[in-house]
C-alpha cells in the first residue's frame, strides 16, 4: 500500500500506482481536471508514466463557478 495526501485528505491505495491509475480509481478519468504532485504540475500527457510514492501530496482541481 502507499499512503497519499489527496486534496489534504489521507488516502491509501495498493502499490504500484501511477497518476493515470489514481485518476481511474477516483473515477475522474475523462474529466477536466488539473493535477499537482508535491507542488509540481503533472501534465496530462505524463499521467501514465509518473509513478506515485508513499507520502506524495496531490492537489486535484476543477473549474467551478466564480467571479
Amino acid at each position: 500500500m502507499i499512503a497519499l495526501i489527496i486534496n489534504g485528505q489521507p488516502r491509501s491505495f495498493p502499490a504500484p500506482l501511477n497518476v493515470a491509475g489514481l485518476v481511474e480509481q477516483l473515477e475522474l478519468q475523462g474529466k477536466r481536471i488539473a493535477l499537482e504532485r508535491n507542488g509540481e504540475i503533472v501534465p496530462r500527457s505524463r499521467f501514465g508514466a509518473l509513478e506515485l510514492h508513499d507520502g506524495d501530496a496531490l492537489e486535484i482541481v476543477v473549474a467551478v463557478g466564480g467571479g
Binding site: 486534496n7 488516502r11 475522474l28 481536471i33 482541481v61 473549474a63
Partner: protein
C-alpha cells in the same frame, strides 16, 4: 466596428461575467446567454474526491468552445498561491493563457493586496501568461501593472460583492486617461446604471458577477447589464453635452410663440 481588444483578440461584447453564486448550472447558463458576454470567469478549486462522480462540470455547461474562459485566483492571499492556481488553470484549459489575477488582502473586505498582486503579475507575465489584473483604483498601481506587462487593468469600482457602485469616478478617470491597455471596472457594480456610468467614464469594459447572480431575476438583470454597457459605451463615443447650471437657450424656438391669452383680449 467598435470592438474590445484584449491581448490581440477582439470581442464585440464589453461585458464580462462571472459564474459564481447562481442557483444551478441552468440558471448560470441562461444568465450568461442573456448577458451576451464572450469572456466568462471561473474559479479553480479542489475536486470533491469520491463524492458524486457523475456530477456535471461547469465547463460542460460553459464550454471553452463557445466562451473565452477566464480562470481567476479568487481566494488567494499570496502571490505564490495565485501563481500556482493559474498554472493549474492553464493545464486544466489545455494551455489557455488569458487569466484574471486577483490577490486579496483580507477576507472581510476582499480588498486587493497590491504588493502581492504586483509580485504575482511579474512572475506570471515572465511565465507567458496574459494577465488581466484586478487592482485597487490607485492610478500609480494601475500604471505599474501595465508596465509589468499586464494586458488589462481592472480597478474596483467598490468592494467585491458590495453593489455600492462607482465610488471614485475621479480615480477611474485618471487610470483611464493614463492607460495604454484596456481598463475594465471589476467589482462593485450593483445595478445597470452603475455599469452605464463606468462605460460613460471611458472604461473599455465591465466585469461583474454578484450584480447579476444576486438579483431577484438574474436572467433579466443580465439582459439589463448588456444594454447598460452598450448604452454607456455609445454615450461615451457620442460625447456628452457639457454640464451647465441652467440652460443658456431652451431646446425649442423662442420666436413664434402664440400670444398670451390675456394680451389678445387687451388688444
Amino acid at each position: 466596428m467598435d470592438q474590445l481588444v484584449i491581448a490581440g483578440k477582439s470581442y464585440s461584447s464589453r461585458l464580462l461575467v462571472g459564474t459564481g453564486k447562481y442557483r444551478d448550472f441552468a440558471q448560470t447558463s441562461a444568465a450568461i446567454e442573456a448577458s451576451g458576454a464572450q469572456i466568462v470567469t471561473v474559479a479553480i478549486r479542489r475536486t470533491n474526491i469520491g463524492q458524486n462522480p457523475g456530477e456535471p462540470n461547469l465547463l460542460d455547461v460553459i464550454t471553452p468552445r463557445r466562451y473565452t474562459i477566464l480562470p481567476n485566483t479568487a481566494g488567494c492571499y499570496t502571490a505564490q498561491d495565485a501563481v500556482r492556481t493559474l498554472r493549474l488553470a492553464r493545464e486544466l484549459l489545455d494551455g489557455h493563457d488569458l487569466v484574471k489575477l486577483e490577490v486579496l488582502g483580507d477576507p472581510q473586505t476582499l480588498y486587493p493586496n497590491m504588493v502581492e498582486t504586483l509580485s504575482a503579475a511579474e512572475t506570471l507575465v515572465k511565465d507567458g501568461f496574459k494577465v488581466m489584473v484586478y487592482c485597487s483604483d490607485d492610478p500609480i498601481m494601475a500604471k505599474q501593472l501595465e508596465q509589468i506587462g499586464c494586458v488589462a487593468v481592472m480597478p474596483l469600482a467598490s468592494l467585491i460583492g458590495s453593489g455600492m457602485g462607482i465610488l471614485n469616478p475621479w480615480n477611474l478617470q485618471i487610470i483611464i486617461d493614463n492607460a495604454k491597455v484596456p481598463v475594465l471596472v471589476d467589482a462593485g457594480v450593483g445595478t445597470a446604471s452603475d455599469a452605464a456610468i463606468a462605460m460613460e467614464l471611458g472604461c473599455d469594459g465591465v466585469l461583474m458577477n454578484t450584480a447579476i447572480a444576486a438579483a431577484r431575476d438574474p436572467v433579466l438583470m443580465a439582459s439589463a447589464m448588456k444594454k447598460a454597457v452598450q448604452a454607456g459605451r455609445e454615450a461615451y463615443l457620442a460625447g456628452r453635452m457639457p454640464k451647465k447650471l441652467y440652460a443658456a437657450a431652451p431646446s425649442s424656438p423662442t420666436d413664434g410663440v402664440i400670444a398670451p391669452a390675456s394680451q389678445d383680449r387687451a388688444a
